[in-house]
Each structure stands twice: as structure tokens, then as C-alpha cells.
Assembly symmetry: C2
């Protein structure tokens, strides 16, 4: 049998169990030109919260009754596809389920001898590419500049900060809790960290970024974005990557009321979607693979075991009870 987690309904606010419909269905059978993949690891990403809303976005919403969309690492267990054989490890959007058949479109091989499989869902996958292209292409940091990143202990934020360090920037992270802040400074080499749960973000930015913020990479939105806007330097770039503090809001999104700081500081706020850089993923993987090999880049995966733990693990994205890339092991 194939355990599948499907979208049962749409919600405003933090999803509860009733959003998911856990089903036991017959194993799928690959047709000619297809492969049968056993899902080994499921990626948990804040963006998934947006995918279950019925709104126009950069990707169509998951429909009610569909298997919940998720990036996955899987192993081919049966192949009727000319390019793949049983045993191959692949990355693809397999969804929250145990088995999936696919014609292979959008899937690509990963090598467990180069990196642990969960890393292909994090630093060497979408979050890593998001950090790489968002920071370098949209943020355009220059050596000597100050880069501020929120959600800094997360899958994207932790890579943003480390790449910024590699590029010669002063890097300050915003994260929730003393452990995460310690991790940023002591393990990842950030120049400073601000614990938004226990200290004033405004004072923290002022103290850690005395010359202002040149690049602010925003994963959280809300109050933190609004506060960061007050400390921009001339010509600053704000990279809009996510707004995790707002995804479960029941009263709509909070707009950044200090946005006129963009005028005062001749600054810009720009959004991006990592999919636009798909043709350059190889370039990013090669460069980040090199940094990983040289120890310049550290990757951390937080692996939770058991498909039945999907819902409670998903909620950790929003409670902040995880460090680095959150992955569900099936």
C-alpha cells in the first residue's frame, strides 16, 4: 500500500490536523516510460503554507484532494524509463507520500557518495539555490558591505549568511532563541546575531550594523522587515524571499509601514522566485559543493523520522523548533 497525505481543505491561520487527509491507497504502477520511486526524504518548506491557499502565485495552488506537494529524495524501485534503473537516487517533486510514479520530467539524479541525501533538499537543493541566487543576483552584495538576514538559522538564511561571509561582507543574523544565535556566531562565523524572541531587534540592528544595512535578506516579513527598513544605508537592497511571520496570519498581511525609507535611502525592495534560475542550478551546486568541501560552508539538516509525523513536523517551520533544513525521513 501507499500512504499518501492529501489536502483536505483550505484554512486561514495555522493549519490543524483536519487540513490533511491521510489515505492508504494501492501502490501505483509505472507505465511504459515511467519509473516507480520510493520516497525516502520529504522536504518541509515554509513556502508549502502558501501552496495550500487558493490564490494566484508563482506556482498553482495544491487542489483539494491532491497529494500535498513537496520536494523529495527518492530511490527508483522499478524502471520502465530509458534513463533510469532501479537503485538510482533522484530529486523531484514527489509529494507527501511513500511512493510515486513519474515520467522523470523535473527529476534529476543525486549522488549519496558526494553528499548525504537530505542535503539535496537543503544546501544542495532549493533552499541553497534560493540563498545563492537571491543573495548574489538580487541582493548584489559587495565586499565590505553589511548584510542582515532574518530567519538566519533556517535552511535559506544560514546559507545566505555564510555566502555573504565568503564574499567578504559583514554579516548579522536575526533568529529566535539563544541557541540559534550562538550557532550563527560560533559555528557559522556570523559577525553578530540578534535574538528576536528575547531582545529588541531595533537596538540589535543599531548595535550590530552601526553603518546601516546594505543588503537585508528577508525571510520573515512583519515587524522585523518594518524595523530593518529604519536602518538602511544609502542604496540598500532588500531581498524579498519569504514572509514566514505572516503566512498564518488570520488578519491579512502586515505591510511595511516604513517603506518610505526606500525613498529616503534610494533603496529598493525586490522579490524573486528561485525557479527562474533553474538553468543555473548546476553552477550554484558546483560552487556551493566546492565551499562545502573546503569547509567554508556548513550545512545542517534537522531530520525527523516517520511520515505520520508530517503535520507536527510541518508546524515546526512556524514555531521555530528546528535548526537548519527541516526534513522528514519516510
Amino acid at each position: 500500500m501507499n500512504t499518501q497525505i492529501k489536502l483536505a481543505k483550505r484554512v486561514v491561520g495555522l493549519p490543524d490536523h483536519s487540513v490533511w487527509d491521510v489515505q492508504e491507497n494501492p501502490m501505483p504502477t509505472p507505465q511504459e516510460g515511467e519509473i516507480l520511486v520510493k520516497v525516502l526524504y520529504i522536504s518541509l518548506d515554509p513556502a508549502m503554507r502558501g501552496w495550500i491557499n487558493n490564490v494566484r502565485s508563482y506556482i498553482p495552488p495544491v487542489q483539494i484532494g491532491e497529494v500535498m506537494r513537496a520536494g523529495t529524495i527518492g530511490q527508483v524501485i522499478e524502471s520502465k524509463h530509458p534513463h533510469y534503473k532501479a537503485g538510482d537516487y533522484l530529486y523531484g517533486t514527489g509529494g507527501v507520500q511513500e511512493y510515486v510514479t513519474t515520467d522523470g520530467k523535473g527529476w534529476h539524479p543525486v549522488d549519496p557518495n558526494i553528499a548525504p541525501l537530505p542535503m539535496y533538499l537543503g544546501t544542495l537543493g532549493m533552499p541553497g539555490f534560493t540563498a545563492y541566487f537571491g543573495l548574489l543576483e538580487v541582493g548584489q552584495p559587495k565586499a565590505g558591505e553589511t548584510v542582515l538576514v532574518s530567519g538566519a538559522a533556517g535552511a535559506v538564511g544560514s546559507i545566505v549568511g555564510q555566502i555573504a561571509k565568503i564574499k567578504g561582507c559583514r554579516v548579522v543574523g536575526i533568529a529566535g532563541g539563544a541557541d540559534k544565535c550562538k550557532y550563527l556566531v560560533e559555528e557559522l562565523g556570523f559577525d553578530g546575531a540578534i535574538d528576536y524572541k528575547n531582545e529588541s531587534v531595533r537596538k540589535g540592528i543599531k548595535a550590530h550594523c552601526p553603518d546601516g544595512v546594505d543588503v537585508y535578506f528577508d525571510n520573515v516579513g512583519g515587524e522585523i522587515l518594518d524595523t530593518a527598513l529604519t536602518r538602511l544605508s544609502r542604496g540598500a537592497r532588500i531581498v524579498i524571499c519569504g514572509a514566514i511571520s505572516q503566512y498564518n496570519s488570520e488578519s491579512g498581511y502586515q505591510g511595511p509601514s516604513n517603506y518610505m525609507s526606500l525613498l529616503v535611502n534610494r533603496a529598493r525592495m525586490e522579490g524573486f522566485v528561485v525557479f527562474d534560475y533553474a538553468k543555473r542550478y548546476g553552477e550554484a551546486a558546483r560552487e556551493m559543493g566546492g565551499w562545502l568541501a573546503q569547509g567554508q560552508l556548513k550545512s545542517r539538516e534537522h531530520v525527523v523520522e516517520g511520515l505520520e509525523k508530517f503535520h507536527e513536523t510541518f508546524l515546526r517551520l512556524f514555531s521555530g523548533e528546528k535548526m537548519g533544513k527541516l526534513v522528514l525521513k519516510v
Copy 2:
């Protein structure tokens, strides 16, 4: 005697008479290297509302007890300056008063034979340069794109729209009232106009910009900015020029709650300050002068006479009871 209007106090909300202190003071006397200028025309700009707040901005606030800052056209009536002689017409930040002495720094000659003097406060002055550089440098419109502009019947907005037309764009303006909308379409050649006082801006943008908005030039902020964000095309640019709907807010600025549209549409929102382009004002004046001469660009000045009408005329900026560039004739 020299009538001067000074800042008496700071306010939140719409200023009333008590904000200004009208004084009769002795005529100033030019020192060696200075000129005495009789102020002929005073520019009234929405930005002046910001200058009387005590906040860090792109220009220091006007201090209490100081003559209110304003762009002016004046005539030299006495010169102890090697470059100027009595009778010369000049543009400079003369302030809201009848006479001013200056060493000439920041002042430059204007020629009443080329254009009517008030036009040097509008299309051939700061508002015109603001439109020119804001649209072309920050907005970067391409022929065939759709440009949406708010405050479209104002000194900046009307020029933004006309330049966008000259550059081959489809242009839609947002303005308050049927007269202004008629003016935009029938006199200035806009492709469409939305009367925000009498129709739904959301429906208006949808109808007039069926393929989305490529450049949104924002002079107003608030609800209109938030609505424009919902209709962006891929890669859109929002030019943050002003936020006139918010300057007199008593409850703080309204942030654009739809800003995540920047992510979905890979769009950016960018602020600028015209002063940064000071070295290129000549270039803008030459090009716009050419367009004016060829009838491609129309300029409209709304001249009110009498320094004693400063306060009530200033309020017209916010009530919308004016068309084109608002100028006070002394």
C-alpha cells in the same frame, strides 16, 4: 519690510494656521558677494509637508522659527555678486517670503523668454526633473509597456505620463475627479484614466491594464499603492516618488500589505531623490524643452496670487483642488 512665513510648530495631521508664523521684518541687506532677490513665485510641493516633520530624511527638517523652505523664482534687485546683476531672473530655494539675500550658491538663472517663469517651478524645475529621472532611470520603461501613474494630474504625474507616451508606452493615470481624468485623456493623450474618487481603482486598473502594470509610478501611497501591487506584470518596477495620501495621517503610514506581489511577480519597488541627479538637470531641461517646443509635452501651472494665501493654497496640495503645478505668485 519683508513678509516672511516661518514654521511656528510641528504637527501631526493636516496643518492648520497655527503652524505658520507670519512676520513683518526689516528688508535684508546683501553683503559683499551677495545678491538681494525679490521673490516672484513660490513653489508649493507635497514634499514640503515632510520637511516640517522632525525626522531623518533626505533633507534636514525645517527648524521651528526658520522661514519655511520653498523653491522660488526671483529677480535680483541689488547685486554685490560678480556673476549677477539687477534684473536677472533666478531659480533658488528662496523660501516663503518676499525678499531673500544669498551668495548665489544653489541658485541658477532662468530665462522668461524661453518659458513663462512659473514653468521653472514645474515642468522645467524640480517636479519635471523628478518625473524625468524617476520614470526613465528608476522605472526604466520600454516601448510597448504599460505605465500606471498616480497623482496623474499633478506637477510630477502629468509629466511622467507624457514622457511615458513619448517613449512609446501605454499610459494610464489615476486622479481625483472627472475633470482631471478628462484632462489626462483629452489634453495630455493618456490611454486611460481612473477617477479614484468615483470609481473602483481595482476595477479601473484591471480594465485599463489588461496585461498588468509594468511600471507603477507612485505619488500617493496608501490604498492605491496596495491595489496597484495586485496588478503587476512579471518584472514590474514600482517607483516610489511620494505618498501624499499618508503625509497628514494621524495614525502613522499604511504599509503596502500586498508587497509579497513583488515576489510572485519578480518585481521591485525603488525609491529615489531627484537631488541625486543634479548634475544632469541640464540634460533633462534640454530634452523636455525640446518636447515642449514641439508640442509633445504640455505644461500646466495653477497660479494663486498673494503671499497671504500661502496656507490655504498649501492645503490644496492635499485636497486635490488644483491641476498641474501649484504656484503662489507673490
